[in-house]
Amino acid sequence: MAERLLVAGGLVIDPRRKLEAVRDVLIENGKIKDAAAGLAKKAGLKGTPTLDAKGLWVIPGLVDMHVHLREPGREGDETIATGTAAAAAGGVTTVLAMANTEPVTDSPSQLAFLRAKAARDAQVNVLFAAAVTAGQRGERLTEFARLKAAGAAALSDDGRPVMSAGLMRRALEYAKDLGLLVIDHCEDLTLSAGACVHEGAPALRKGLKGAPGAAETVQVLRDVALAELTGGRVHLAHLSAAASVEAVRRAKRRGVPVSAEACPHHFALTDGMIPDLDANWKMNPPLRGGEDRAALREGLADGTIDAIATDHAPHGCGAKAQGLDLAPFGVIGLETSLAVALTELVRGKVLSRRALVERMSSAPAALLGLKGKGTLAPGADADLVLVDPGASWTPAPPFRSKSRNTPFAGRPLKGRAVKTLVAGRVVHAL
């Protein structure tokens, strides 16, 4: 007997099919069977278990291509179980976990361990990135072919840049042959050394060492040049500086195989908003100036920036309670990304609701080559989110995440995931 579920009467938004209409969605055995008007009234479907979605949006589950689950090595800050619970609460049904674990995820055996752990503990789909260089030391490449065979979904040294241009060139060439996406954290360490915030007026006032936007942009430009040389695709993580956005825009215009993501904190906040040395506002790259924030929004609007990703980076309270200068970089984001994006971008008239779903679901799914994700077309995985666009709420600890380091705590937001389904199973319900 087929396992069925109806999601009835919601506004279905499916960017890939350019669909934005009230539909009933029929789920069968974890897949989308059909999405059509009046399905709920069909004779054969009478008595099918039904979720009432009236007044809600029904969208494909969000794909967050940039999260840190801290497992293995820092289970005190986050685990696969708690990180994916946070994802489910935020409407995120697929995450790409970064490789800067302890030890670094750079071998086939570690991937096998993590995938087995995720199969047991995860509430949403978890993909794993493997490191580009052994130990993320930037000295020699990891075994891309064997890592791919072991299930690596992408390659990234995220948390650190690949500083050597020669090595990055080889990485792009080798990854291209295997069809693997290389994700680079752009930061010239010689420009950012010792910095804890953006190099702007607020940093000067507080006497803090800042990193200029150019620390990111010089490496964005380098990666563009290498992508152009090799024909290998590079994805630029967490763009933060206006000049970086412009560099990507020009590269795309020339047909260079480059893509980019932006994080909610960067398009919502600026360095001028940081309350007195609060380390929960510290991340890398840092919050920058108003022009940078405006450029990110423009980049999201015109498609220069393909995807929205959180860079969800949990740190325990102890680590963050050392003052801005000493605290580690990173903020959590899985539980607030949709709400921040709805509040800042859709209510702020930067993106249409359909474009928002595209940036948070369809586009990252396509960048990672995920079939059956990022759409509600028949045959797709039944990963979907019911969104109440009018729900007012204020994020506050405790969170599903083990950590609580977020600048959005206490900040009123509008719009929220009220139910999240993964393969047709409800993993979050308000």
Partner: protein, 306 residues
Amino acid sequence: MTKDWGRKDLLGLEGLEADEIESLLDAAAAFKDSPPKPLLAGRTAAFLFSEPSTRTRSSFEMAARRLGAEVLSFSAAGSSLAKGETLLDTALNLQAIGVTHFILRYDRSGVLEDLAPRLKACVVNAGDGWHEHPTQALLDVMTLRERWGSLKGKRVVILGDIRHSRVARSNLFALKTLGASVVFCGPTPLVPREFAALGARIEHDVEKALRGANAVNVLRLQLERMEQGFVPSLADYAAAYQLTPERLALLKPDGLVLHPGPINRGVEISSEVADGPRSVILDQVANGVLIRMAVLALCEQERARG
């Protein structure tokens, strides 16, 4: 020895006409069928090698001796080259002593083109840098021609480190000239797409490259390529590109396996394949002596003419 070759040197195969290559192949085949004449009696061959070599050098030495030549024992390390004398001065001195045939292996590409016209003696390239290794390609082609009769319309895959391979370049020139098509296969760092301009098809997916091919010539993967960052590790290279029995099965049913040696078993080729019935690796080595006899003998004709 009927055909007239008209060159005193063999520096490379690029630019040779098909009938020139065939003269060499025919001469080598003739040596196989009849006992050699002392075509180089009273002549002296000298080796100038700035890189180590076992098989090429032994093969040349055997070829020279079979033709009746004296062989001067010499190697660049420990010679005047190490004392700072130029290669040309060394060669001129040896020529004055009575050397008639220089067999050179040099670690830089393109030195021989400068040297050869300044010498009366024959200059035979035994491998220069990444540039050419003409006798290796000739013995490869001879081995294929023995099996096939003609190379026209055949497809040969050259698999491995093409970027640093003089064997690959010489093979490409010979195979194309004789009417075969060539596929270069390996990871992009070792097989840059710019090679397409030389007339090879570039393919980074080994299965696609091998499917339906008539032969595959597997190149050795040198350990230093890993240290230089061209591939992450030998194991990773093997996972993606090693010629295994499964991959071999993609060739035409009678497809052949060549390897210029020395073999890294378990890296670029599995032992099963290297030792298997489709392998012609030892035929290549045997043909090497015949090819080198042919090259030395034909170049001597032109040298003797002055």
